[in-house]
Symmetry: C2
Subunit: 287 residues, 2 copies
């Protein structure tokens, strides 16, 4: 059982991980090896104290080096679901389960909105992980909504299993060349089905499918962790970055505007300090 | 009339000033030319993203250069009092008055507590500024509570005017050598007087004085701006860094723990974004 799992590797996650390491916490940190697409693609950041008028790519390199020098390990996995287990949390990814006493959500803000049916049919035909659930769709029809070229290997894998793949990409120049993959323009508006996925609707057109895969950097927090109180599309937190769930904290863009590096870094730090207090209280009540 | 006055030049003030400049705000920024004693004296900072394992002095130098490169001017004055004027704020220092539509308090945390009588007798014998009020004590007896050698010229100035100076310093090795200055060990516990200062109490001993000067980096926010809602010794703010006073925001250590650079930087950024919204709302309601 670890002390903490940090989900997300943007500035909030980086800040929290650096403080967790400085405070000798036993923590797991999940994210992308490139940390954050948002940082990487930022042209210039003019108001981050300490890195004057910096290109996003430079900030990324500085963060990567700092993490490495601090001896911090990033686990490059996308967590698909988190379960509150009473006194701890379980996070599942690729059929593995990780456990920790506390959890910090630093998942960033979704560029793609959750569509009707997505949360309701999760685990009933909706999946966020081809590697985990692809095998269920042998010779079946699936739809894939893909937000980045880096997920294309997962599309290829699905195309090898399924009979037909209907593909929606949110970027241009998709590199997939497979006979059973049909690219469709637009973004789906809803998923139909009651007990299980039956069809996908896009621009009024229904496509009958057995499964729908969303391949995106981060899953909506409300879908990731059921019972989390949201304020519109943001996680509700107090000044100490505490959510409505005991032992669960959030930091960065996922908690609301302004979507700023400095704000995310500050919140990651505050959340970590709250978590230290939480863990100390847990430890003393267990004595 | 300026848009904004930022009071304080620690990390929260630096962050706010950088964002204010990036957003072309017409603002005044008050603080120390060395920015923050706390930063300058920090041995090593291990968890600030972007400046790996940095000495406080290096962080200070980086911040100073960044401010200069951004073309930001720091006004090196200590604001003694702020007055809410309805639609704007007035800040007074050294007999000058500055005005702005909004105010950001980034005053840090007091290392010295406010003692009984200090706030009550401010302007009635209690002063935070020798240059401003020294002339009132010609041939009179004053007490001085001094927190840093950098204020010693103010003590010398007072010694030239007053008949007797009773001096309390919170540091060792005070360099003042004047016949009418008597150094006393300890820190005063209260100031006596009803309409005006009459005496100072230290370790049970009363010393009769006409005036009491506190020479310190920053004045308690509750004394600086009357009516500000406090939570113990911290300014009460919401998630947007708004205080209970319209147009008044606060950021950094003065709003509470953790006393961390990252937290202060984040709050300075958030406060500035809230102020931008506030100013936009003011502008549109004035149309």
């Amino acid at each position: 059982m670890h002390d903490l799992m940090i989900i997300g590797s943007g500035p909030a996650g980086v800040s929290a991980a650096l403080t967790a390491q400085a405070r000798n916490l036993d923590f797991l940190w999940f994210g992308s090896p490139e940390l954050s697409m948002k940082i990487q693609r930022a042209e210039r950041i003019r108001n981050y104290p300490g890195l004057p008028d910096v290109a996003g790519e430079t900030m990324q390199q500085v963060f990567l080096r700092q993490i490495e020098d601090a001896g911090i390990t990033l686990t490059p996995e996308r967590i698909n679901a988190i379960y509150p287990m009473g006194a701890y949390y379980a996070a599942s990814v690729n059929k593995k389960v990780y456990e920790a006493k506390a959890i910090l959500l630093a998942t960033g803000i979704q560029t793609t909105k959750t569509i009707p049916g997505e949360a309701e049919l999760l685990g009933k035909g909706v999946s966020y992980c081809a590697t985990c659930d692809g095998f269920l769709y042998k010779q079946k029809k699936v739809a894939v909504i893909c937000t980045s070229p880096k997920f294309e290997p997962e599309i290829e894998y699905l195309a090898d299993i399924a009979s037909q793949v209907t593909l929606f990409t949110t970027y241009k120049g998709c590199g997939i060349q497979k006979g059973n993959v049909t690219s469709v323009a637009g973004y789906p508006s809803k998923i139909l089905g009651t007990d299980h996925v039956q069809a996908l609707v896009c621009q009024g057109q229904e496509t009958s499918v057995d499964g729908v895969f969303f391949l995106k950097d981060s899953v909506s927090p409300a879908v990731l962790l059921k019972g989390l109180e949201m304020d519109d599309s943001h996680i509700q937190v107090d000044r100490m970055q505490k959510t409505n769930l005991e032992g669960c904290y959030a930091a960065g863009d996922c908690t609301g505007r302004p979507y700023q590096y400095a704000k995310a870094v500050g919140e990651g730090n505050v959340a970590l300090h709250s978590i230290l207090e939480y863990l100390a209280a847990c430890a003393s009540s267990n004595k």
